[in-house]
């Protein structure tokens, strides 16, 4: 029943997309498309939510006579799928709500409206797919529709290039998955997931599939070093689509990884638990360092997606390590942490991208160095962006903290692992996780501080207006969710229990009946956290402090110019910029990771020339991995291109050569 409803939702979305092709330029098209998307996604959200909360182990399946003819298109909804559908459709509802307001400013609706519903539909379909063909078909459809959305503003410099790199990397990922499914399905073509589940795979087949799944899903999710497209493509799309791509589509990629590795592939080997978290840890730290060096607000957010994907993969990898060593309870904890972070990240990342979109609409600027002081002009946006910033920086009492805390708890269980390499590696990964969380806080102090605080740096920032009420509504819903998931995490963990149960055979102890809404992942003597109580405590403390001060302290307030070493009326340009804010961190980390070099040119005394400071940074994954490959392809193309302008005689020689070689082969063969 639920499956039918969901498929009908998808069908309506696809129909909307098709109908939007001729109707996109109509006055009402924007409202209609987004309105319909809200309605349909809400229905899908509710349906998936019911399935998830019902939590039964029974999965319902459905087969449609489309796709591969002898196979048909298989669809299936189980708790894992239901969870990810909740994530997808929650993102869809809020993004569409945001789109209602944002869409009014869209210059070329015809390039957005047809693809937007298709993108939503494709993400739903990926999660529902139950055979390799349908999965990859919808997976690539998802890439393609989002590519079209990235290309919506193709005239802006860099966007077309971003779209190109995006689609190329997406295809690389699909190719890897294609190989993976080729191995899983075997030469006879058992593409249905049921058939794959029923097959047992040898060790090296599983290893290759894992590697391919890491490339395939990892490139879509943004694992370093396959992340290069992400910070280019995500910001290039319209903001609500950026939110969907960063907040939701990367999660669909995570879903792909979980589905293949946890569900289809069978029991893991222990070294998977070393490889995957290591990749995750490196990704997390690299992602946040990239973000710190970034002054483009949307690109900064995109790099944070890389970071959070790293955190999610740490959790997933730990789950693999525990599962390989028959520690299902620990595996369930790690998996729950990862999945909870999936949900949390989708919420706060959408929120932040909406905020960035509101700023972009209000000022036309993405460069933080040209913003500032927006808190005065856009107080509500600033407030929700602050909530999002706190959540993504893993600060209590918001939701980001809870899932990272759970991940830490899983890491703390690592000494029980029998493998020495894991014993040593996992704490180091814990250090990486801690580092990335701390750096994320630094980064969001920068992002929020430079964008919203201080004084406006440009007239555009000076004249910004608060964004429309639809967008605000979307952001407030998400901000409320950030807090809700932060103070009542127990309910969310319980909702994830059937997912963990299905994948690891165990689940985190139920949190529902614990007193005071506390969460206790393992045992009370070990660790516990109570977001609600903390929140209440803080509120109480703040309230009592306010009360005391209002009662007894002076309430007098006077406005005056700020202190700036005695220089009056300092220009807003003397404020700390994003670049100067990160200078200490750049010196500490950037000199190693980015080979950052500063060149200071100071004119001699008496010279009136301006002094210059130039920072050079290298993008190592690009320089080491991508540039050589691109160079190699170019070189090969150049060399082979000489064949294009040979003489006819030379071409005949080629034919002759082919003939002689084949004849010789034949002669030797026989």
């Amino acid at each position: 029943m639920a499956l039918e409803v969901l498929l009908w939702c998808v069908a309506v979305l696809l129909g909307t997309g098709v109908a939007a092709v001729p109707a996109a330029t109509h006055r009402l098209a924007t409202s209609l498309v987004y309105g319909l998307a809200i309605g349909v996604s809400a229905i899908a959200l509710a349906t998936a939510g019911v399935v998830l909360l019902a939590g039964g182990p029974v999965a319902s399946t459905l087969k449609l006579p489309i796709g591969l003819p002898w196979l048909g298109a298989h669809f299936r909804i189980d708790t894992l799928a239901a969870f990810f559908l909740v994530v997808v459709n929650l993102g869809s509802v809020t993004a569409s709500l945001f789109g209602l307001g944002y869409g009014r400013h869209e210059e070329t609706p015809a390039r957005v409206l047809p693809f937007y519903p298709a993108f939503l539909a494709a993400m739903n379909l990926v999660v529902l797919a139950d055979d390799a063909f349908t999965f990859l078909f919808t997976w690539e459809l998802m890439s393609l529709s989002s590519w079209a959305l990235v290309m919506a503003q193709h005239r802006r410099p860099g966007n077309a290039e971003a779209g190109y790199i995006y689609l190329l990397m997406a295809s690389l990922g699909t190719l890897a998955l294609l190989f993976a499914f080729g191995l899983l399905a075997g030469a006879s073509g058992g593409y249905a997931f049921d058939a794959i589940r029923a097959t047992a795979f040898s060790g090296h087949v599983s290893a290759i599939v894992l590697a391919l799944a890491l490339i395939g899903a990892g490139s879509k999710a943004g694992l370093v070093p396959l992340h290069v497209w992400l910070p280019l493509a995500h910001p290039a799309a319209p903001s609500h689509v950026s939110a969907l791509m960063s907040g939701v589509m990367t999660k669909v990629a995570v879903y792909g990884f979980v589905r293949i590795v946890f569900d289809l592939l069978g029991p893991p080997s222990w070294w998977w638990g070393a490889l995957v978290p290591l990749l995750g840890g490196v990704t997390a730290v690299m992602g946040v360092l990239y973000a710190l060096m970034q002054h483009d607000l949307k690109r900064l957010l995109a790099y944070h997606t890389v970071e959070n994907i790293g955190i999610i993969f740490i959790g997933l990898g730990l789950a693999l390590a525990f599962e390989a060593n028959q520690m299902p309870a620990a595996a369930a904890l790690a998996l729950t942490a990862a999945l909870f972070h999936v949900f949390n990240h989708s919420v706060f990342k959408s929120l932040l991208f909406f905020g960035a979109g509101a700023v972009l609409t209000a000022t036309g600027e993405r460069d933080m160095e040209r913003l500032g002081g927006l808190i005065h002009r856009m107080p509500l946006t600033a407030f929700v962006f602050l909530v999002g910033s706190a959540a993504i920086s893993a600060l209590p009492p918001f939701n980001g903290f809870v899932s990272e805390w759970l991940t830490f708890q899983a890491i703390l269980l690592s000494p029980a692992l029998p493998q020495w390499s894991l014993k040593f590696l996992v704490p180091a990964i814990g250090a990486l996780l801690a580092l990335s969380a701390a750096l994320a806080a630094a980064c969001f102090v920068k992002a929020f501080g430079v964008t919203f605080l201080g004084r406006p740096r440009t007239p555009a920032a000076q004249e910004a207006k608060e964004t429309d009420r639809w967008s605000l509504a979307a952001m407030f819903v998400l901000a409320a969710l950030c807090l809700l998931a932060g103070i009542l995490p127990g309910h969310f963990i319980d909702a994830l229990a059937p997912v963990a149960q299905a994948l690891t055979g165990e689940n985190v102890p139920r949190q529902e009946q614990l007193s005071w809404l506390m969460i206790v992942p393992i045992a009370e003597s070990r660790s516990s956290y109570n977001g609600l109580l903390l929140f209440a405590f803080i509120a109480l403390a703040a309230w009592s402090a306010t009360g005391v001060i209002h009662r007894w302290a002076s309430a007098a307030t006077r406005r005056s110019p700020p202190w700036d070493c005695g220089y009056p009326d300092a220009s807003p340009l003397t404020q700390y910029t994003a670049g100067s804010f990160t200078q200490p961190i750049r010196r500490v980390f950037g000199s190693v990771v980015f080979r950052a070099r500063e060149e200071l040119r100071m004119p001699p005394p008496g010279d009136t020339q301006a002094a210059t400071l130039r920072v050079r940074m290298r993008d190592l994954p690009w320089d080491v991995l991508y540039a050589p490959i691109a160079g190699l392809v170019g070189f090969a193309a150049d060399q082979l291109n000489k064949v294009q302008s040979l003489t006819v005689r030379a071409y005949l020689t080629l034919v002759f050569g082919a003939l002689v070689i084949l004849l010789m082969v034949l002669g030797i063969w026989q």
């Binding site: 209590p396 703390l412 102090v445 660790s527 700020p562």
Partner: protein, 317 residues
Amino acid sequence: MAIVLDAVVQLGQLLVVLLLAPLLTGYVRMVKARLLRRQGPPLVQPYRDLLRLLRKEVVLAHSASWLFRVAPYLIFATTWVAAALVPTFAAGLVFSYAADMIAIVALLGSARFMLALAGLDVGTSFGGIGSSREMMIASLAEPAMLMVVFTLSLLAGSTQLSSIAVFMQGPVGLRVSLALALVGLVMVAIAENARIPIDNPATHLELTMVHEAMILEYSGRHLALIEAASYLKLLLYLSVIACVFVPWGIAVSGQGFAAYLIGLTLYLVKLSGGGLLLAVFETAIAKMRVFRVPDFLGAALMLGLLATLLLFVSRVA
């Protein structure tokens, strides 16, 4: 009935930390002054400062936003809650299960987050320089702190400070990793509380300061709250060190009134000892350049990691 007692004790602890925090700061200042052969301010000077600040009017910059006015309350509240969660004289109180050590670190992170933002709010270069450096320091201090937490929790099988304290009261013996963890924790504590050699709480020379630069624009009741928060933070770290490494005497829930009294007395002794050591250390050492700080904290981080790894080795042996 026990619950009620626990709740009362918990409330008592809330008040105790709030009341003791300025005293600790005043004590450290006094000891430092005496070590420098100065008379120094009286022990209660911090209380007086706070009261005077509360009575003064607030001077706000034109460009200050609502965040600038809200931040002090949040900073104070968060720090206060964090400090109250650390077992001072009694462990295993009702609310101590609301947050473990990781959460306490993260709560302090929240306070710092707000403080750094407040530093940027007015839009002067001083606020910026302070926030920027503070976040750089924090980005290394937090992982170092977490590695220490790691070591402790691997040893004690818990991240709950109460449980750790109880565990440490037992026969733990001398361990290298514990020593490393202690050193790491002390280094983090020094950095987090803006003490010498990382920062100088007494200086107002713009280019060398971190914490003071951030709060340069604050005045009146706002400044009072922030000052109180920093007093609390110092107390918090000393309490953590005391509770983990010298846990003796901490009362456990249900041991009765006398145990609480003993615990409180011993707690005061521990604090005075810790404050003395801090003052001696600060007097004996010079402040370092800002860009030496990463090395300092990097060392702390390495010590924490080393402590974790050594733990495996010593466990086998």
